[in-house]
Symmetry: C2
Subunit: 343 residues, 2 copies
């Protein structure tokens, strides 16, 4: 395990994307979102993607210069053709558009198709909440590595859901998770670290219980979280993320870039309801009360987003740990691209 | 256990509410929603409430004649003061308003406060989906009988979530569940039937594992579903259902009617995105593929809403089973109200 400072990794990421034909502002933004993911402890969506996105730029899946275009629009809705631009650029366009419309009309929704991997979904909802609106994101992943409730074969992607709500003085409130028990990135990280995984995460290709992080690569599958209740969300993400937007569903057979995301964002302004001030005050008050709930022995009462916030503060000071395997891939990539690494 | 035909129970329910001062159309509608809940197998939200709502009419919690009023409105949003009218009347007003606005402007949201128990949330989202729009409902229950993830005391109500999506020829797609492992009504039903409950549903007042359906009545609590992921939804329901609408949160100490609901509805029209025809076609196609997923031995691949649909077809033919305890309470109530029972 290596440990590097966030700002140095961000510069390296920017350089990696820039030299592959990405305009500087785009390169900076994508590197920033990946570093934010690493800072918050979501290593599965962090610097790990320096190499993955580079592969996708080289194989033509990500078009560094493509411009997302709105193809259908009303005062409170939009549908964006991402034109296979970098997913982060498309998702940020969508969220900015949704926030603007929500502030004008109380509520809005924006869908995106032909969209590459957008990274950690919480980045966008958290950004929206910082503008004073609530944001919900329903995302499908256009592949199949998760089974359904009661299922014995691959069906959907890890189909993440995210929600963020503005707070007053309280830390940001953020929900951001895969509707599988874990994101597949978490299994990539376990492989990078050479670790076994918990047995309730996945099954091998025969449907047997396994702790092998390679089983998923060898025809196995992840399980949805929370039995039938988590499964309901998994399929809702598919219906809104993919079907509502015209994106690829896990079941579609046409050839597409790997890990495409169908993205559906809803944003709304507390001003249209109880009012922003009242909302912030009561939200802070509620979250403070939740923090005081008596926990089970040895456990803590946590607010959604709190572990990420804590990890972020720690890693901003102490640096971001990177598994040797991931780091070696980054060094190899930098070498191919002729970039000198200063971290 | 007694078994009665839905239409006879619906007439009885209508009569019970009518003689207590409810206008006929309201009485009919409330009875219909409760019978629909019983038909779909949600006995916890069905005829069981004939007696509970009657208690609340008598103690003044439910005002049979009150009219919900919109106190804040834009083209795509509304906030409704329910004035403690029957919850079903308020929720249906909200959903109708949301659907109308969604059809005009692509997306809408409507919140309700001072709202009594609205019954089975899926009734409303399912109704909206039948009008060709997607509906999401975020509901809090203004009491405390569920702990949080890692928690050792009561914090929130069972805070249900519901989502319905229009389908073409496929059965209705409906998500409708408590964010606790089970709705507390399911424990009421277990008590009525004299049955033990699974040990992962609740804890007794000391925080110990229990299979006693009375433990929850004696200071125990329910658990949120799906560990931290279900807990995130539980608290999101509180923030949107209660705080966004200005409704009572579980933590509020002011005296309020029992089982109040804070209700936040979002509705949106596929026409604003991929288009309704394309949405219906791909949704049907997707759900058919899900039905063909290989299941675990002895299990079935199920669509959200399918078990309810199957139970409904069966109970429409064979009748609705009612536990003796529930039925005796209904007979007693009918006697007090001077109603002759013909079922």
């Amino acid at each position: 395990m290596f440990i590097f400072q966030a700002k140095n990794l961000e510069k390296l990421g920017t350089e990696i994307f820039r030299v592959q034909g990405m305009p500087l502002e785009r390169a900076k933004f994508i590197a920033k979102t990946l570093i934010e993911a690493s800072l918050t402890g979501h290593d599965s969506h962090g610097v790990y993607y320096f190499v993955r996105y580079s592969e996708r730029i080289r194989d033509g899946s990500i078009d560094p210069l493509a411009k997302p275009r709105i193809i259908k629009e009303t005062a409170s809705t939009a549908l964006i053709d991402g034109h296979w631009a970098p997913g982060q650029i498309i998702a940020m366009d969508a969220v900015k558009n949704a926030v603007e419309k929500a502030k004008m009309h109380g509520i809005s929704a924006v869908g995106c198709f032909r969209c590459n991997h957008i990274g950690r979904v919480g980045y966008y909802t958290n950004w929206a909440a910082a503008q004073g609106v609530v944001a919900l994101m329903f995302v499908n992943v256009g592949n199949q590595n998760v089974t359904i409730f009661n299922g014995m074969e691959r069906a959907f992607g890890t189909n993440p859901f995210s929600a963020a709500v503005p707070t007053g003085n309280f830390k940001p409130f953020l929900i951001d998770y895969a509707t599988s028990v874990v994101a597949d990135g978490k299994i990539n990280v376990a492989r990078s670290k050479g670790e076994k995984i918990p047995t309730h995460w996945s099954r091998n290709k025969k449907g047997e219980i396994t702790d092998d992080p390679y089983a998923i690569k060898e025809g196995g599958w992840l399980l949805p979280f929370g039995e039938h209740k988590g499964y309901c969300l998994q399929i809702l993400m598919e219906l809104l993320g993919a079907i509502m937007t015209g994106s690829r569903s896990g079941f579609d057979e046409e050839e597409m870039p790997p890990s495409t995301n169908g993205v559906f964002v809803i944003a709304f302004d507390p001003e249209a309801f109880v009012g922003l001030d009242a909302f912030l005050k009561r939200t802070d008050d509620l979250l403070q009360k939740v923090k005081k709930i008596k926990p089970e022995p040895g456990k803590r009462a946590l607010i959604p987003g709190e572990p990420e916030w804590e990890t972020r503060e720690k890693r901003l000071k102490k640096g971001i740990p990177i598994p040797e395997d991931t780091w070696n891939q980054i060094l190899e990539l930098a070498d191919v691209l002729g970039i000198e690494v200063h971290v």
